[in-house]
Symmetry: C2
Subunit: 190 residues, 2 copies
DNA sequence: AGGCGTTGGCTAATGATAGTAGCTTTCAGG
DNA sequence: CCTGAAAGCTACTATCATTAGCCAACGCCT
């Protein structure tokens, strides 16, 4: 019998395809095995267990997101960079409805899953705030606020929590204004 | 054999106790049945299925949260009310680590779970913004931003995503400043 | 070419879980 | 007391994750 030629990465690819097409809830080892044309236990040759697969998927998604953010802020600075970063974040989440939701769903406290996977995202945000002259603790607080705002909006939007027929772009623009206007600007003043 | 005397509400109570003591992942019909001293299928007399139980739990939690918010803003207005509202939100989430996480985990897009359960929370926030003279679309956009910020922060904090040893209260205070400073204030200006 | 070890895949089996069907018992109200 | 609905129960099915242990394919090295 010819081998399926699976690999750790191939398994994650299949998992992502399932998430995209059927939603995060459909991500099961049986489903992955089905797509791979393989018996379920065979997957354990490539992945420790379902939890690890979830982690791998999360890391992949966060890396993808970080790439988008990096591209977005490239060559920009200040307000422009920040707005571009926020827009890219939302575009990624709404453009890949299942993927971001899967990361959230998979995030179990106690693991540093999210923390590790989100490291690059944090770095990009930090670099963006450096364009405002923010350094040290100020920058870190600002990153926390930005992440909260952007992540919260993304979660609520993709979860359908914003039910009213009111322009979402306008809401998001206001959110960006809030962050920018509330930013400490020590570099300019000192 | 004496009856256990269960009810829809009693089942939800047990579910909440499990969530508090063992985390949201431990919420299973078998676990609830065990605590109730009843066989698993008996629960179906009170609850349609696990999904419905999750919804009921979410509604209960959001109601509880709304109560806290209502108490917090009572007798306050403007910045003071807004800050109190935000503080109460975070206090609830950090004070009940499992509960809020369970709501997030249970939120499946496609259902209006979150939307319905969060209705009272939205109303309270709307009322708070009315203290700034915000009405109509402006107020609704502001509520979306507030929800995003506060929910995002809560999720990230309780998920351990803020790894650095940096004062969380200070970050949250900055978030509040951002929202307040970015608020449109038509009532004062017009 | 041939041998051999690693690796990837398989079958079989276990245990947890959600959910259904259908029977029985309790209990409250007439 | 009787009776019917509500609340339990047992038995059963189906789906998963996960483990154990077997076997075949592939690459490499002579």
């Amino acid at each position: 019998m010819a081998r399926a030629g699976l690999s750790r990465d191939a398994v994650v690819d299949l998992a992502l395809r399932i998430i995209d097409e059927e939603g995060g809830a459909a991500l099961t080892l049986a489903a992955v095995a089905g797509r791979a044309g393989v018996a379920t236990p065979s997957l354990y040759k490539h992945v420790r267990n379902l939890a690890e697969l979830n982690t791998l998927v999360s890391v992949r998604v966060m890396d993808e997101l970080a790439d988008r953010l990096r591209e977005a802020v490239l060559g920009r600075s200040g307000d422009e960079a920040l707005r571009a970063c926020m827009a890219a974040y939302r575009d990624y989440v709404t453009g890949n409805p299942g993927r971001y939701a899967a990361v959230i769903q998979a995030a179990r406290p106690g693991q540093d899953d999210v923390a590790k996977a989100g490291g690059r995202v944090v770095d990009i945000m930090l670099a963006t705030f450096r364009g405002y002259g923010l350094e040290g603790a100020d920058a870190l607080h600002a990153v926390r606020c930005l992440r909260s705002a952007v992540h919260g909006f993304a979660v609520l939007e993709s979860g359908g929590a914003f039910g009213l027929p009111l322009d979402l772009d306008a809401s998001y623009a206001l959110l960006a204004d809030m962050i920018i206007s509330g930013l400490p600007s020590p570099a300019r003043q000192r």
